[in-house]
Symmetry: D2
Subunit: 423 residues, 4 copies
Amino acid sequence: MLNKSQIDAHNEKGLAKHKKGFDYVSGIIPDAEGIIKKLTDFQVAIPSWALGSGGTRFGRFSGGGEPSTLEEKMEDIGLLHQLNRSSGAVSLHIPWDIPTDAKAIKSLAADFDLKFDAMNSNTFQDQKDQKLSYKFGSMQHVDKGVRQQAVDHNIEVIKYGQELGSNSLTVWLADGSSFPGQLNFRNAFNNTLESLQSIYSALPDDWKIFVEYKAFEPNFYSTTVGDWGQSLLYANKLGEKAYTLVDLGHHLPNANIEQIVSLLLNERKLGGFHFNDSKYGDDDLTVGSIKPYQLFLIFKELVEGMDARGLNHATDLGWMIDASHNIKDPLEDLLQSVEAINLAYAQALLVDSKALNEAQLNNDVAGAQEILQDAYRTDLRPVLAEARLREGAALSPLGLFREQKIRQQLIGKRGEKTVATGL
Amino acid sequence: MLNKSQIDAHNEKGLAKHKKGFDYVSGIIPDAEGIIKKLTDFQVAIPSWALGSGGTRFGRFSGGGEPSTLEEKMEDIGLLHQLNRSSGAVSLHIPWDIPTDAKAIKSLAADFDLKFDAMNSNTFQDQKDQKLSYKFGSMQHVDKGVRQQAVDHNIEVIKYGQELGSNSLTVWLADGSSFPGQLNFRNAFNNTLESLQSIYSALPDDWKIFVEYKAFEPNFYSTTVGDWGQSLLYANKLGEKAYTLVDLGHHLPNANIEQIVSLLLNERKLGGFHFNDSKYGDDDLTVGSIKPYQLFLIFKELVEGMDARGLNHATDLGWMIDASHNIKDPLEDLLQSVEAINLAYAQALLVDSKALNEAQLNNDVAGAQEILQDAYRTDLRPVLAEARLREGAALSPLGLFREQKIRQQLIGKRGEKTVATGL
Amino acid sequence: MLNKSQIDAHNEKGLAKHKKGFDYVSGIIPDAEGIIKKLTDFQVAIPSWALGSGGTRFGRFSGGGEPSTLEEKMEDIGLLHQLNRSSGAVSLHIPWDIPTDAKAIKSLAADFDLKFDAMNSNTFQDQKDQKLSYKFGSMQHVDKGVRQQAVDHNIEVIKYGQELGSNSLTVWLADGSSFPGQLNFRNAFNNTLESLQSIYSALPDDWKIFVEYKAFEPNFYSTTVGDWGQSLLYANKLGEKAYTLVDLGHHLPNANIEQIVSLLLNERKLGGFHFNDSKYGDDDLTVGSIKPYQLFLIFKELVEGMDARGLNHATDLGWMIDASHNIKDPLEDLLQSVEAINLAYAQALLVDSKALNEAQLNNDVAGAQEILQDAYRTDLRPVLAEARLREGAALSPLGLFREQKIRQQLIGKRGEKTVATGL
Amino acid sequence: MLNKSQIDAHNEKGLAKHKKGFDYVSGIIPDAEGIIKKLTDFQVAIPSWALGSGGTRFGRFSGGGEPSTLEEKMEDIGLLHQLNRSSGAVSLHIPWDIPTDAKAIKSLAADFDLKFDAMNSNTFQDQKDQKLSYKFGSMQHVDKGVRQQAVDHNIEVIKYGQELGSNSLTVWLADGSSFPGQLNFRNAFNNTLESLQSIYSALPDDWKIFVEYKAFEPNFYSTTVGDWGQSLLYANKLGEKAYTLVDLGHHLPNANIEQIVSLLLNERKLGGFHFNDSKYGDDDLTVGSIKPYQLFLIFKELVEGMDARGLNHATDLGWMIDASHNIKDPLEDLLQSVEAINLAYAQALLVDSKALNEAQLNNDVAGAQEILQDAYRTDLRPVLAEARLREGAALSPLGLFREQKIRQQLIGKRGEKTVATGL
């Protein structure tokens, strides 16, 4: 952890330049203060598995200084939150991060000012002591025993979450098939529905369940919750506590994700969001590193749709990063991710929605494009920095991280070869 | 039109070879007669716009002898049906083929033994005398007047259909947007729903309405009925006479269409099918010319799912070819299309569903693949030919078409430069 | 055409705001003047077919006031150039825009301060008086007569170009096949090569020939110049006056175009560029409207690669817009296009190439991303405006176009229903 | 290993049915004997890493009875070859399968009648004792030391291959980048070229080097040998012993692989082939399980192009399976793979090339399709079985494998939890 004086020194150094930038930009946009307020409230959850180096099926190149316990992971997230005051939530994955002493973990979270966001279950891998295998699926499985095991696991995850103060469960199912003929699609769907219903029955009243979809991988022919249409079918059949969760990388090529987001909000069934970016498949790259304009368009729909539905941006949807840091330092990657998310959010808030509405009513296509691009092309980084400054975070989170050589410190403390649990 | 003796002479010539083939294959498969029976009942509708040369946005190369009236189009379809006895239905498109004298058209259809399948409306082009433009959409339009015009047109199409004895309406909407910001997605969705509801109210009790979806083109950013999930939302909100229609070419790259088909049948909402094939987008190539195994897998799901739902293969779904014959003779292309469809259907009927079910229950993935490939690799062309032979059609429809130089005859009769209405 | 006082009045009105913006941004970037200089030199050619409304294969919705003669088209381009001083070149298409009186056309061009960029031939459509058809290809055709006709046409196009002072020929071939088996790929390749060699022989010494590639459409199974690898093969076999031309929309999904650009520059074989944007296929949308970051990355490679090869940005490559204005006013679309191109170019010039090189040598992946994003996120619109201001163009070209109601003027002058030649 | 009497007993049982099928099909095709001859000569190499269960980045579900030594792997391949007499070659991967005692391994290979096909190097993973890391590439690396290490490794692989009697080296490079800016594309290309040239210098005179390309994964932004165009550039710059290797799964969506194959043969630069199948990316599914018609079309080009170039089908190209058996028994999967390859090859041999050529010269597109589909739809499985029968292999390799419960035997012998080296 950093101490306040380190942050202050960093900010002091950059203040003059920042001031100039903020003065300029706040002078040309209508409501800098409103955007700052919303940015301050908006928090993105960091998943506990994102603090270590990820890999591909071809191998993994380890970084160094990775956290090897849940406590160390929370320490890392605490650090991120200190740097940007926008990462005030943790999303835990069971069984990678079982909170054996919930009370101690909660107290640690309080120290770092962190909340517990959605809990994540895992029925896509076999654990060492596991009775039945998920090789051929979990909730879709032809064997009722396997389905029950998967259901029980999810109920256990809810229990862990309750102890920590979480109030939502994200279910991502790798279930599907890799070859034609392997699966009876209807049975797989109906089995999965039944399994989800069992979990839903065990869901506390104030909890939500998020049904995540994914087009392909690790199954390569079909996925049983494969697109937003399927996820919405499940969510509708489950009930009002069930929602669809959108992960940016989980679509077929060229899918219009912003339209999906809009329609799900229209149906009051959008529950949450996993941020990352990709060029080819579920590449799990840093959000905003490949298609930042798409990210802005998605946020535009989120803001517009949530406002139309009377939802609170900060609290009514679950926001989480879900990326794989194969070649970047995970903490640096997460700092870049949060910055990209906040930037897209701010740009979306800047859109002149009244003028846009008018352009749309006039079928003024070129005009509508001008309105969007005007918001997108405006450099709002000083506004983000100002929001951080006011909250006591760093003007440049990544800059301070590097100045303080934090990775080197972590390596010194934790070692060169530690491996975090996760993918 | 051919006369019976021409067909007989053709069949006589090929009979010995056919006999040998049919004897062999009927000896190695369990129920050739059952397949023949089902093939005989199964009829694929020919759309009235498929009898002429299509084009691309880069131009059109005309063929010759194209039909220039509805009567000539029906004559062409009558010929196809004579050749294969599997094309006993017409699908009309309004306003390209307005049946001004419905009685005469019905009588002509009776002469050719043709039924009237789904009617097709057109709100994606502006007609010469049209009051308001569809440039910015029809049922989604921000202007209620345009929406009403589109609704009225569809109701008129229903009226034409009623006169002819059709009992379904296919609504394909090109509505969407080509640029970010152009459209408010929610408003577009809700406007479209409202428009469809108006049409639905006018739908006769024994009619169905098919809501067709398409991923992209002619709009290149978003489509308002863009995937099966959206279509199903509309169909569910409309009511029990509303169904989803699947066109093979209307998906994002790599979509698993057979799974979609299965899920729609599971939801009792699959209404019909448009056959074609593609490599890149909505290429509208001859069905079975690029991905014949996918076609088989789709039919496998159709057969399995319809049987599970107690549906009649021949009558409970709408089957139609929807391709664009840019460089092939349209009639030859349609003969190849019907052959490919029938072949895939027969292969699907051949699948040992009991063994497949068992393999699935045992997670015997390799075994399941063997079962599917065994059906697919069996050469069932003699069974198709036998079905035709028994119905008085040609052993080789395309062969007879060429032997009789029918295209040359049509050119002689209709001219070299005729242009059929359509795309 | 506008008169100077109209432009001056427009600029006067916006000057104070502009000043403030330019002062700010020129204070935070290292070399605003250098960027302005390069922007001023950089001119994007407007193709003669881009002044009218385009269409799709499903139809065309006309705009109004479209130019119906070459003279009117040049007038439109002259207007664009007046507005932004960045569109000082015309790219003609034969036979859509045959300059029957070359001298008069050249004099008109001089009036508008326009140059003649690459000439475009057309062997993808049949013209009214054409002897042989291109239905089955042109330079690939199995019939030598068709190939010769295509060669002759291109030589004629060169002749027209020489009269006007152009010095390059762009050859886009739609040649390919729509069905497996239709083509012998080797013969098609070798025939095409031979045809191109005949044209190359007729190419004046100071001319270049650009071989454009396209993945698909209008052929839907194979294209004979289908990707950069094929184009480069042709270019290498032809000789040193032959180059590859890259059109942004002519790739398979997810292709890394910036890498292609870099490799072609490495091979000294990149000849030119067609700008547009797309989400699905060759959508021909306004450049920068869908993937502006990709556009920036491409320009980054262009700048870096041209500098490494000692090429002049403004003159050593051919730059052209190639889009289809289906629903926007073509002139507005072109103004937006040029703005997006200039913005991406300016951002690319802003990249700190020394720091980037260092980051690359250190495998500092996160650092390299910061450097790129820093340039991309900087709002350089005031720099573009300043460049225009100094050249006597409009601070806001689109703004002035709308203020002066130029489209309405053109409709008044040319009529509501004029149709420009082209797609 | 099976003994001859087990195979004989299996064949005896199926003989009558086989006879009937073979009699029929050999009676309707022109040259069954010619096809049998070619099938007999045609051998597909089995890679040493394909005998164990593969995985995805989400985990791995182990099978049982997997080989844990090179000797056991060769035993497995020997078994496959006994069953189908079409798998008479091994492709080794270094360092997963270092032949420490080359003489003993060669003698073992002779016992199983196996040859050593292409050797495979590995510079995409870090080995335990490795000095420098490949995290940021190998032959492209900014550090000359890393490049040299990769070169040295490849030279060592050649040495192992020479000891065993192999005469080709396959180089697959994972090199590339995951984020914009990470790499200077030109430097990466030129470094890679230089590295390959060093290896090429060490290549024995009678060896070939295959440069494999891949569109993406494990790098997710760019790949330095990313498509056939890049691979061909390297191969041409290296010299006449260098060739391009095509892996079916290594392309962007919708790529026309058969055209690539044809063009590479036209350039005399196609060196080898990796078989697998896929729906989404490099899924590494069983060849022929998803797109069998594409496989046929590829073989059609292979046969046609090799014949045109006077190449020997069996010996002038390298043929290898490269799949990942995540959920199927690897041996069953490989048996299905070889069957699918042989079937496609036989179908391609059946194509009436004279008639096809004529149809192409007449632009008879429908006719050309008929010719291809006629070959493809013919059930040639009895011809494959006959070829096996004559060579002493099993009528049904997979059938016999299951009858003899070979997997259970292997589990009994090797254990339930063995893990083969590989991915």
